[in-house]
Symmetry: D2
Subunit: 423 residues, 4 copies
């Protein structure tokens, strides 16, 4: 790389760091102090914890290693805000993160300011280490923080839904037009390359880029809509075991699920809870907050299936990354609108469940050391989701990006696209 | 009653109402907003909830019935802050009280101010109802609020203990002198009267006053001390089933209890967590935060037993109500000091477990309506404790006062006094 | 005692020993080998285990101590068939007793024969020990075995009920006549003596006999009938929290109880499962298989209460022990028939819940050593039941006999008698 | 197909049917009646249930449809012995299968004889249906029964292990010689065909045969041995989170796993429980009864990984199906012996965990109707295992055979083979 390129990348990355770090101010505007403490779902964390944990990441992996003479902000924070990085030492049990009132959000914000100041100071004067050495960790930290910003939105939605008075996070523009009619888009069998092989940042789980053989299939031109999902419900979908994976059938019965998460039946109608508050179900919006089990059952009911992540990636390779993202006024999925017969709206709005279990690619190697725990240790019992959602920052998404959740998880902004075999 | 007496009682009660209601300001001084949300133990509630629930009591049982044209402060608060009063309608599940960030503590304080204002307005101008009609409910509400102030102290101690950084609630004076030597005080068999038959306020469970026959026994002159309890622990008390009730043995093994609550073993020593923070165990202080099972096991190890509540009440009848109460600078039990050979220090410091299961007295009748759920519905699976504690307001206690907890409960300020049979 | 008396008691006790021991042959006639293994309820044990455990009792407490050179039948049986006698060593977890297929029932019967032979041999030739020394343990063992015979009947009923094909244990004569009309029988306040002070056998929990003061009350002349309980159910008793203890309300809702155990609603009618199979509910039979919570709720609905065990014992003191016991062709409660206006049918048919928590009497001392665990360690969280039932051998019952179950237990033959205060 | 071929296949299949059906007599020889009832592990079933359920399969899917005028043996058996075939109607909860003492094993054997008789009668005189129509269901039923015979051996091992007296199922020949040294066998990248495309029987999950692209890799020449696994344990493998999947780490800690299932530490040594009883651990035998988590953790500790099922199938394609199977005197894994440098012992002994999550092959379609629930509904949260084990009948195994268990399952005869990438 040219030195001037390094310079420019250095500058851009620092800008991006500060932009992402300061985005919390916007995200937290609707919050009161009491909101920061709560943890209402398995897999969720208190808002305060997200903000401290992402800060700890920079302290632990960058400042402690590269800032000469760095003093940690507080000796207990490592224990409190470390997460699954078992190799980095002991940490508080995930399920009691919501039992900690102190440090307060004011103290967490002081911690954030302290780390930001030292990070900027370090990045402006890299005496001991070339920028190239820090750059990968910095990129990882920025992307990690963006992930937690999306988790924050998922979690605060859950926190507000738990509350019988159902607070509103922010006003949302729900305007929409007619949805694009459902259609199938065909593609042929062949060898393709899967995974990231560009120059920019990607997660370890997107690599190595590798060849794979893919069979012919058809893919739906858009996500399934609330109205279509209602037909499944009204046809008795939740009470007919034939459509369900065995584990799925157990899950819906044990939890008494009869609709997606955040749907409530009133006497007259279905209502859904959104970050903009409770509203009447709009049948033209994509169905959201489904578990894998529900997405899969819907597909079986239709006599088809979910796509594999490889099928999805092939279609995505020919699409532009554009859509309804967090920074495009997202926060709620939009009605999929017509924009040309071939075009598939693959990005933004909702994470799309694929039928691919989350595994390492052929030749996959975890990152070394603590940060290596990032992705590899979750390659079990989860499914891959693709495309980002209305709570994802647009510049966080790639065509090769692999998200993953347990098949019973529903608090993410998850949706459903169909695929089918060609006989 | 003379009219002037009524007048005077009226005035005193209003004063007491305002004094108790405003005491929260003192209690909450050490808190930050994030503290108000948490619920860390089964049986505990968030600070915010205590403050709103006691307010709801006055709204529900007094203002709604006696204040003409009263508008409830907020239509959802009944659902949120109602508690075990099943007959008063639906309410939020006890175990998710800690999942509610809003209404905020500021809003709860506004609610409190609104209800206080209407209460004072009502009490100053009782057009439609004589004071005598409202007085019993008012007394009940005041005492109910005092109970929740004690619960608040118990709960905040638990909240702070859960936090690995162990915040301090307030500075406590731990100074003490030499403890009184252990001794037995004997009393003879005979008929006695149990229960409240005075003119003042008492709970329904203290009535009817009734005759009972009591056998001769000996009672310990003071509570058991930490040092004495340590001997039990060091003698293998927690690993020898012979000393334990069957349910107690299951409980200590399922929960892996090896010491009272809030005791932690460091490499060198035992530490205890107090409202004043963590400190080295003082062997001369009364042992605190015991379950009934532990109190009972200690007594069996000593070859004796716990007193019945009737034995306790007989000794109390001849004692003055004085001791280390919340408003006497309590918050932590004190070393029992010598003050005369006969004298038993029965009040304050710690609730004393008795071997009496919590039941209704002969002829007991629940109060009518909603408030009737107050005590009677808990007369099952609990044991009576007597005497008040360092977190109880002194004017809340009576010689006939019956507190009750489940035998596995340990987060109250509970202690242990021995008794024995005379053969 | 005269030597000839000792001789006669000796002979009678040995006869009784052999009679009780051999009664299993009758009890087990309806069983197949597969039945002996199962444990279907918390608190229940497999039939095989009852038969081996009662045998172990004689081996452990008598043969091991008094039979010179006794060889235990099998070294593992102590571990397998010991029970709550923690002080007698380790034992298999209660809840996995039903996971043990071997030793088989044939082997258990060999074990029984071996112990019986040695017991008879010992009892016929007491070289080293006077009979008086062994007599108390022998009596305890016989009574212990009778208790397990009743438990066996409770457990096999539960085992058969769990099975969708609902096997029949034995034919039962359900003939009956008109029930006695409900009436109240009054008695006055006064000092009475409670507990056993005769010469025969009693359990430690019936002693010491002691004076107590008892208040005036009224007692129902008979048990509550199925038809009367149905009225409570049809009046919404199971859905109105006002009638329930707090723990009871939680229990019925968590377990979704809407009727007593063994009641099933068919389209047309209520059916009950009995040891004689499934049959239509007879409204004139006493209601059976109630928890304490249900008995208490019924009484509250009626505006009255359950009797105390002392009230019960006073009425029993003037009654003859006669009724529908196991050896009188019992196994199912009978319709209470008219036999004189004063007479209360207190014995047999059903164990009667009292409102008395199970505690030690004033001056109570546990037996020494292992057998001391017999009763004292359960004096917590249980309620006293009185009078025996249709599965109890008649000669096992005394007027002072105290049975005890947890308030949520329903698999015993439990019934409900009302009492009320006199104002 | 030629008519004579059909004839011959018909005859062979009937022979095979009768052979497999009658094999239970051999399997059950060591059992007593009490053994047939027990269900000791999640996922396990009582022996009796296996024998009745496999019989029900023929009744439900063949006799009911093809035997004119067939009368089911007993109307309740459908409810009792149906399993996951939700579409075939209601059935008893899986976890209470062990609560049913009746029908007895004698009755189950009568049921078996009745169905066998009718099956033979049907197969000998196929008036209404050509054999080709019944053949696929018959094959499925036979293979289904073989699977349950293996499950029976897994379950009875668990039943006997739960019993503190540790019964022996049958004598086993544990003789062995020196193990083959560990080695890596390399293979190149390329397109291969996966799945079954022969004329015989296979399960739906082995189809369609399809092309896939496979990367170069190395495969271990044999399974990992007890001695090698012990090194992992002694190196602290169970206490170092770095080696574990996140779900695996939770699993071993929640269950307190510190060794494979059936391993017990005595003071001197490790013992393992086998179908031949308890014996000292042989370091040269393959390590057995591992969860996927443990297999995966061992591989990570070694710096390598588990094979994919496709890698495994490619090696298997060039190997003969021979090994230590149930009908070759199996029941316990043998030391892998030298038989040529290239040769990999892929079949028999132990099911080999692969890193492949259990999914449908491209183009996979479930069988229609009830039998369609056979495999497809389990394609979630499980991993594929290959090669059969010492409890598998040899003629049940194919090179394309896909078994599957949850990653936490350990009661199957599971083992561990390593693979690694070529960089």
């Amino acid at each position: 790389m040219q030195e001037s390129d390094v310079e420019s990348i250095h500058q851009q990355t620092v800008e991006n760091f500060n932009k992402v770090r300061s985005h919390w101010a916007y995200l937290c505007k609707p919050l009161v102090k009491e909101d920061y403490v709560l943890q209402t779902a398995a897999g969720a964390s208190p808002p305060k914890w997200h903000m401290a944990h992402t800060t700890w990441f920079f302290e632990q992996f960058i400042l402690n290693n590269y800032f000469r003479g760095y003093q940690v902000y507080h000796p207990d924070y490592h224990f409190l805000f470390n997460s699954y990085y078992n190799s980095a030492g002991d940490f508080i049990d995930r399920h009691v993160r919501g039992m900690i009132s102190r440090p307060t959000i004011d103290e967490v914000n002081s911690y954030r300011a302290y780390v930001d100041e030292h990070m900027n100071s370090l990045l402006n004067q890299l005496d001991d280490h070339p920028f190239e050495e820090i750059h990968p960790l910095l990129q990882l930290g920025i992307n990690h923080e963006q992930q937690h910003q999306e988790l924050f939105l998922m979690d605060i939605k859950n926190i507000f839904y738990q509350n019988p008075i159902r607070p509103v996070y922010q006003e949302i523009d729900y305007s929409h037009s007619q949805p694009v009619p459902f259609d199938w888009i065909e593609s042929e069998a062949g060898m393709i390359t899967i995974g990231y092989n560009g120059d920019g940042f990607c997660y370890d789980n997107e690599q190595p880029a590798h060849k794979t053989y893919i069979h012919a299939c058809k893919m739906a031109n858009r996500l399934i809509l609330n109205g279509e999902y209602l037909e499944f419900m009204e046809a008795g979908g939740y009470t007919d075991s034939r459509y369900w994976l065995s584990d799925g059938w157990d899950t819906i019965n044990q939890n008494n699920w009869q609709a997606p998460l955040y749907w409530d039946k009133t006497e007259a109608d279905w209502e859904i809870f959104t970050l903009g508050g409770t509203r009447k179900l709009n049948e033209n919006e994509p169905v959201c907050h489904l578990s894998y089990y529900e997405a899969d059952a819907f597909a079986r009911w239709k006599g088809v299936r979910l796509p594999t992540e490889f099928e999805w990636e092939r279609y995505a390779a020919n699409s532009k990354i554009e859509g309804n993202f967090m920074d495009n006024g997202g926060y709620h999925p939009k009605t999929p609108m017509q924009n040309g017969s071939q075009v598939l709206h693959l990005f933004g709005d909702l994470w799309e469940w694929t039928q691919s279990p989350y595994s390492g690619y052929p030749g996959y190697e975890s990152l070394a050391d603590g940060v290596g725990e990032y992705n590899g240790k979750f390659m079990c019992n989860q499914f891959v989701l693709r495309g980002g959602c209305c709570a994802t920052p647009k510049n966080h998404i790639r065509k090769t990006y692999r998200n993953f959740y347990y098949p019973h998880d529903r608090w993410a902004f998850t949706g459903l696209r169909l695929a089918k075999n060609i006989k």
